[in-house]
Subunit: 228 residues, 2 copies
DNA sequence: CGGTATCCCCCGCGATACTG
DNA sequence: CAGTATCGCGGGGGATACCG
């Protein structure tokens, strides 16, 4: 059994985008075109084979194009049809912020996703013009996945999972949960800094400007619904 | 495996409404409060046990309330949280009308769903004030499920699956596919009448007014996207 | 009518290994 | 690196029977 046996357009839409993972893949591609392995960063628990399958379905359905950007570099890109799912995806996120109790389970705290998401939301104009490396250190997660480096060179930001070797201008230290809570707007960033839940070490100018160049999640400012 | 392992609100929303059937149940309840067996009319292929499960999940998640309307009559009703999914559901339908090729498979033509949907979209003000019975006859489907009766008594409309016995003021005869295509706006209603793809037999006043009191699907007027 | 419980099958999916 | 092929399992869900 696969279809819904209906002529209703809602069911037709769901036959295409209703499968597990599909709308999350679309969410990633709404941010940018990505390569296969880049997509895995934003979808912590998906398996390679399943991502492969889903991309193929999306391509067949005409929502995604496979594109060879350079020799040997394949990226996935939304078509117009895919891009028009943006209000749906954003609407789902907004709805969740309004109505879903946000007590994050430890299983939902993934440092790679955190950094991958954060990388997309830096105001590089408020960062130095010359190359700058910011290190993030989540002290409470296993050492192998606890440190990340953002190499900022306007307007590019690269996320490194291993030490790139350049001088670190600023180190951000926090528990992963703290960082996620601040990122999602569950917790005030200035409060977290004041109480040292987030510690900044390094260039004072970068430190002072931190709340201005670290844009938060695009869902951070959605207010909860009035409790009934 | 059940969750997505993410703190992203989109994934949190999908953990609640992303399961198979869930948004279609919400779609039904956006139209009205319904009883268990009424919901089955709008969800042709769902099994009773699965509908039961899903309603329970929706209740736990706070999107649906189980309510005893009268003694022994239970209806399901959306909460405010559930009702706020309306733009999502409508958005999905609109997206499908714009982008999904609508060649309806025979499996997607369900006469009960057709009538169930149609019942919700009658302009009763344009129908007689006294009780009026309109019969629908889909000549190409098995006899057992080919005839339906709408008993209209402003502002109520009741759908009967068996002959209610009252005088029939108007009979509408068509192939099921024709009716669905007209209903969905794939085919022009006046053309279908002119070519006798839809035949009306009975009260001339009801016949003349037919296109005015038969409102079409709420998705009937969404234009397709410009073909790229 | 309005569901619930049980049983059992199938296929969606993860794990693993493999290829260019 | 960027996937694809194969295999095996677990649980989602259909069928059926049952209850109040």
């Amino acid at each position: 059994m696969s279809g819904y046996g209906q002529f209703c357009p809602v069911s037709q839409a769901l036959e295409i985008v209703g499968e597990r993972w599909t709308l999350l893949i679309v969410r990633e591609l709404l941010c940018d075109d990505y390569r296969f392995n880049e997509l895995l960063n934003g979808l912590p628990l998906i398996s390679r084979s399943l991502l492969s399958q889903r991309l193929k379905s999306l391509e067949e359905a005409g929502l995604v194009e496979r594109q060879e950007r350079e020799k040997g570099v394949v990226v996935y890109r939304l078509t117009q049809a895919g891009r028009e799912l943006e209000p749906i995806v954003m609407g789902l996120g907004t709805w969740a912020r309004r109505w879903v109790e946000h007590n994050l389970s430890p299983d939902d705290l993934d440092p790679v996703l955190m950094m991958w998401d954060l990388r997309r939301r830096l105001d590089t104009q408020r960062l130095p013009a010359e190359q700058t490396v910011v290190q993030f250190w989540f002290r409470d997660v296993p050492a192998k996945v606890s440190r990340y480096w953002l190499c900022v060179e306007r307007p590019d930001v690269e996320l490194c999972m291993t030490n790139p070797g350049f001088d670190v201008a600023l180190t951000v230290e926090a528990k992963l949960r703290t960082m996620v809570e601040v990122w999602m707007g569950h917790r005030d960033i200035t409060e977290a800094l004041r109480t040292r839940a987030i510690e900044l070490k390094g260039d004072p100018k970068l430190t002072r400007a931190f709340p201005s160049w670290l844009l938060l999640s695009s869902f951070a400012n959605i207010p909860r619904a009035a409790s009934t």
